[in-house]
């Protein structure tokens, strides 16, 4: 391509349009037919070239994906008018049926086309799988793929697995471990976990006394943390020996380090805790839904079917950055693609029991209040 004045001007105009097309300029415009266009709002993994390139090649479509690491932010973007922009949204389990469907931000999937996929998933996702369906059980609101237990991570050379599982969240109440743990920064999960360290079920409306206990625990937990950081910082600190364990973590955060040759780092699900049924852990299951875009693309449903294929599901499980089990491992054709090392990385040996000991991610009714308390507690740690 030769660069001429005209092409430069065209490029500038396109750039200007792209800049104008931010969150404020996306309402109500009539798009042309979008047969060859797909926009995905997701957690990291679905935005990787490994996953998207074969689909682009197969369909000749322009596929754009943006990854965020916070469910409410993604949903707020749809609420703010980006419903016209995105075709697929990939968030944790409760949001589809509890928030996005009642607010008409997403639309149902054709049940007859997707039920066969559920039949091949791991038994825990048996049709009709609760989090994929609407409250009344009539509509299928999303497709299932990645999931995992997510409580905390320990270096089993420093604290053995049995001790960690038995002691559970009280590890973070132990003064002896003060200064020896990190906190993986994540607003919602940190809120859940601090409630759990305080011995309180996070997924309910809390009394003022419980919130006071939450505040006290948050201050103590943040004060005692050696560092607060992202997944890379936590894994690096665990590997180097700066910390022995970190709050908020599991397969999703530690699998990459395990795959890199540190199997002693392990996601732990406590044997017991303050959750219903005496459960001690929290797990997450991603639900990917089609956005209620006024100008939909047929590629949205096609993409959801595409990622169900055994080889693509395996690619999604091991997409760059974070490795996770996928529901499609229930299909022997998919399962056989996982090597022994990969199964070790995602803690396949204890996956079932850890999921059993966990309650599924849910919405904290008084989340905003708890988050404010937690952020204030974080600031006084210095």
């Amino acid at each position: 391509m030769t660069i001429s004045r005209r092409s430069v001007l065209k490029g500038m105009a396109a750039g200007g349009l792209a800049m104008a097309g931010g969150p404020f300029a996306m309402t109500g415009s009539a798009f042309a037919a979008r047969e060859k266009e797909l926009n995905i709002l997701c957690w990291e993994g679905y935005n990787s070239a490994q996953v998207l390139d074969p689909f682009r090649k197969k369909t000749g479509a322009t596929v754009k994906a943006e990854s965020l690491t916070n469910d409410p932010t993604m949903i707020n973007r749809l609420r703010a008018g980006e419903i016209n922009v995105w075709d697929l949204i990939n968030v944790n389990n409760p949001w589809a049926r509890k928030v996005m469907w009642p607010e008409k931000l997403i639309k149902p999937l054709p049940k007859d086309e997707f039920e066969p996929f559920f039949a091949k998933m791991l038994p825990m996702f048996k049709w009709p799988y609760k989090w994929a369906m609407s409250d009344d059980g009539k509509e299928l609101l999303g497709s299932i793929q990645r999931f995992g237990p997510y409580s905390f991570v320990v270096n089993t050379k420093k604290i053995d697995r049995k001790t960690a599982e038995t002691t559970g969240w009280d590890l973070f109440n132990d003064p002896k471990l003060s200064g020896k743990y990190g906190i993986l920064e994540s607003d919602d999960w940190n809120v859940f976990n601090i409630f759990l360290v305080a011995g309180i079920d996070p997924f309910k409306v809390h009394t003022p006394e419980e919130l006071a206990k939450f505040e006290e625990t948050a201050k103590k937990v943040f004060k005692g943390a050696k560092l607060i950081g992202d997944i890379a910082a936590m894994n690096q600190a665990l590997v180097s020996g700066e910390i022995d364990l970190h709050l908020t973590g599991g397969t999703y955060s530690v699998s990459a380090a395990r795959a890199d040759g540190y199997p002693e780092l392990r996601g732990i699900t406590p044997l017991k805790g303050p959750l219903p049924g005496g459960k001690g852990g929290v797990s997450w299951i991603e639900v990917t839904s089609t956005v209620n875009n006024p100008n939909p693309t047929p590629l949205a449903v096609e993409f959801l079917k595409y990622v169900q294929a055994p080889d693509i599901a395996h690619t999604v499980a091991f997409a760059e950055g974070t490795f996770n089990p996928v529901a499609q491992m229930g299909n022997p054709d998919c399962f056989k693609l996982f090597t022994k090392k990969e199964l070790e990385a995602i803690q396949w040996d204890s996956l079932d029991e850890e999921m059993d000991r966990s309650v599924e991610y849910d919405i904290v009714p008084d989340y905003d209040k708890a988050l404010d308390i937690m952020n204030a507690a974080k600031r006084v740690r210095g």
């Binding site: 200007g16 800049m19 969150p23 404020f24 409410p72 707020n76 973007r77 609420r79 703010a80 990190g182 920064e185 050696k226 560092l227 607060i228 950081g229 910082a233 690096q236 600190a237 180097s240 020996g241 700066e242 905003d368 204030a376 974080k378 600031r379 006084v380 740690r381 210095g382």
Partner: protein, 286 residues
Amino acid sequence: MAQTSLSHPAAPVSLEAAPALPTKRDALLSLGARCSLPVIVLLAVGFVAPLIAIFAYSFAKPRTFEVFRSFTLVNYAEIFNVNNTVWLSFLWSLGFAFATCALLAVIAYPIAYGLNRVFGKWSSLVSILFVFPLFVSENVRLYGWVLFFIKNGVLDGTLKMLGFEGGPQVLYQPPMILAGMLYVYLPFMLFPMTLGLAMVPRDLIDAARDLGANRWQIWREVELPLAMPGILIGMLLTFVLGIGAVAEAKILGGQSVIVISHDIFIGALTLAVFSRLDLDRLLGRR
């Protein structure tokens, strides 16, 4: 038009019409304004628009993207709420920025002096050594520091290998954040200061010495005032960068303190400082 040219000679008509057009245009936009239009548009889109957007966010409902569609003063009430601990973050950021600024002035001055007066032919090489790290992303450099200082990392691991006790545990503490800021912002203080010192005429120093001034007097009354424009610009740059610094606290400090990195605050501060700063005067152009 044809009739006009028939009834009047052509030349006077064109003479009358010609100056009239530019005058009309001049009234709309002066030549200078027209020439600066591309830059004004660029600044409006790239600098003013984001600031307006951030300002608008401050009136949006908390934790939403409802900019320009909701209006609330809750965010401001929250900031000025005495029970809120945001002031702590402001305090840390201000403290770090002042400390960075003051310490860098002291650290960079001898180097700038050396670059001008002492290093001679080596000055270029020394300058390049200070510039070179700027080609590497700040985050990458900070992660490099982490690898250097982390337990069993480059320093600790090497010392242990050599039979020593191991290196000091300095990561994830406030002093390390300051050290990171000093390292990252050193060139922003050093180069304006070097330029400032280069503006001090050698003859004036010689004259002062001939007239009996001692070293202290020469520095205090000749060198420092004449180099002040460069020093002030260096301090301004490091302060503004320092108050918005967040990577050092996150990467080196492990968020041992939570700093404020609020663009609108920095924007307002920069505007306030620049409106009082006469760069022409500082640079000695008048």
